[in-house]
Symmetry: C2
Subunit: 327 residues, 2 copies
């Protein structure tokens, strides 16, 4: 069982510590890397020895962060995890497990934090761990330098989709304002973080748009990718996953469907709906499930059969929603 601690305690623990190892989560994103690097820079500014450890390589897009990677040159006396909600999220590489089981302090913004650390500070209202650190670092008596500001801005901006996602609050914007005033290179960062699409992403989008079809007066949009198409395009994982939001993002589309054929020939179907219809109603009738606005199911058969089966359920749900509205 962890001890939930307040900000003052966190500050006093950090000020009392030295030889500090900061752990990030695996598959690192802008928030865990930005927050970890910012905290490391702040501790170094206070004259402490500190370094950052992550199971996976830091993505090249974050190479502007002056990160001190832990190289084993000191024996960590205090271990801090940043933005890591559960012990399974530390990953396996770089001997990180050796430290992950003895985390002195966890600083996080995930309400789901499992409490694996001896002491934990979770601010579930913060849009990013970096938002929390934007006020915590000055409370430690460290200055938010332009370098620290750029790291924290990265965390805040990436975790909110550049202030677009529903986790964005007034406090998030206040943090952004403070970081820009402290010298975050916001113009260059936004260009790098949000103006650029990966090659794989573009290829995946091309494939998806080529297969795009509309049904029911354009209230339903569908993309259907066969196993052969997916193999030929050479896209996988995140790029394919991202496509599931595409059909519903088209103006006027209430139900967005993404059908991806698996190696065994069956179709994995993602259902995304607007406010009027229920995705789970649609998926459930085909043996699937999920949430009101995002659900999924699997169907075997050829592409035409799979489309036909799911489109029938979409029709029923659209009719139900229309009948409800008419009442």
């Amino acid at each position: 069982m962890t001890q939930n601690v307040d900000r003052e305690t966190v500050v006093s623990r950090l000020l009392a510590a030295d030889d500090i190892l900061i752990l990030c989560h695996k598959n690192p994103d802008g928030d865990t890397i930005g927050s970890g690097t910012a905290l490391c820079l702040a501790l170094q500014q206070l004259g402490k020895n500190a370094a950052v450890l992550c199971s996976d390589p830091i993505p090249a897009m974050y190479d502007y962060m002056p990160i001190t990677v832990f190289d084993g040159s000191f024996r960590p006396a205090f271990v801090v995890a940043v933005d890591v909600a559960g012990i399974q999220l530390f990953g396996e590489r770089n001997n990180i497990q050796e430290y992950a089981e003895h985390v002195n302090l966890c600083i996080d913004h995930h309400g789901s934090n499992s409490g694996y650390a001896y002491e934990t500070l979770v601010d579930a209202g913060a849009a990013a761990s970096a938002e929390l650190l934007t006020t915590l670092i000055p409370e430690m008596g460290a200055k938010i330098t332009p370098e620290i500001a750029s790291c924290l801005y990265t965390g805040v901006a990436t975790d909110t989709g550049c202030f677009r996602f529903s986790n964005t609050t007034a406090e998030t914007h206040k943090a952004a304002a403070a970081l820009i005033e402290a010298g975050a290179d916001v113009e260059r960062l936004n260009e790098r973080l949000f103006e650029s699409r990966s090659h794989a992403r573009v290829i995946a989008e091309r494939m998806a748009l080529e297969s795009l079809e509309f049904y029911y007066d354009d209230r339903c949009a569908l993309i259907c990718l066969t196993w052969d198409q997916i193999q030929a395009a050479g896209v996988a994982g995140a790029e394919l996953e991202d496509l599931t939001s595409l059909p519903r993002s088209i103006e006027g589309v209430e139900v967005g469907l993404t059908l991806r054929q698996q190696k065994d020939g069956s179709f994995k179907i993602s259902v995304r709906t607007g406010h009027d219809t229920n995705a789970c109603n649609i998926a459930r009738r085909l043996g699937g499930g999920g949430h009101p606005r995002a659900a999924g199911c699997e169907i075997s058969g050829n592409p035409d059969n799979a489309k036909h089966a799911i489109l029938e359920e979409v029709k029923k749900e659209l009719d139900r929603a229309d009948a409800e509205k008419a009442q």
Copy 2:
């Protein structure tokens, strides 16, 4: 010649006025409509008669704004223009010219404002007119209601591409924070303003991605649209214009080219470059011109000839940049 006035003067003019007509610019965007509606609501809150006039219809995407459209039911005694940088931007319809030539007060954030009004307040540092009004409306003694906050948030968010463009400052984020605290329905607004792509935009992107080609180790990306393709897709104007940023937005692409065939068969070529190469160098050698990062030219001939001609110039510029780097 206009008189440039300070905020206090603007407040006193507005408080002294009644039967106020608020003018927006033609092809209305989120800022002119959001600012105009917010100012109208604030004036009405102070017990004044006020209405909004625009040359063009209000786009359906802004139909959540409780806009009082001027219907001729009162005789305007005071005319205010919001977010209108020049008299030619008022448009021609709805008899707007009748009022555009006698604008008592202009409130704007465009440094290029031509000074057509009797009195003008321009804050060129503000990312949006709505950012300026976020502080001006309380100075008038009006309360930022949730409705006003949603209108102003629309202006701030749309003019900054949701806090992504380089006009975004610390003050912009402070305005957003204040508007969210005042009750702006930020989650629903972001979804409506930024999660949605028009049908025409999707069709245009599909056409563009289908034609996408890479050259020179993927440092150059090119889309080429023939007149027949453009006609068949039924896209025009803004959607086609937006595509010119697509090739350069792909990770690792230094030079992005968009070739669009005109009705007469010739190709209009848009050149967009990164920090290493000069778009104008490329376009100029083919008789065009522009800016260091965005330029254009026209070439006649069939698609293959046009591609060949522009790609040769791209090669020269990439070679020049490489040579410069090697020095």
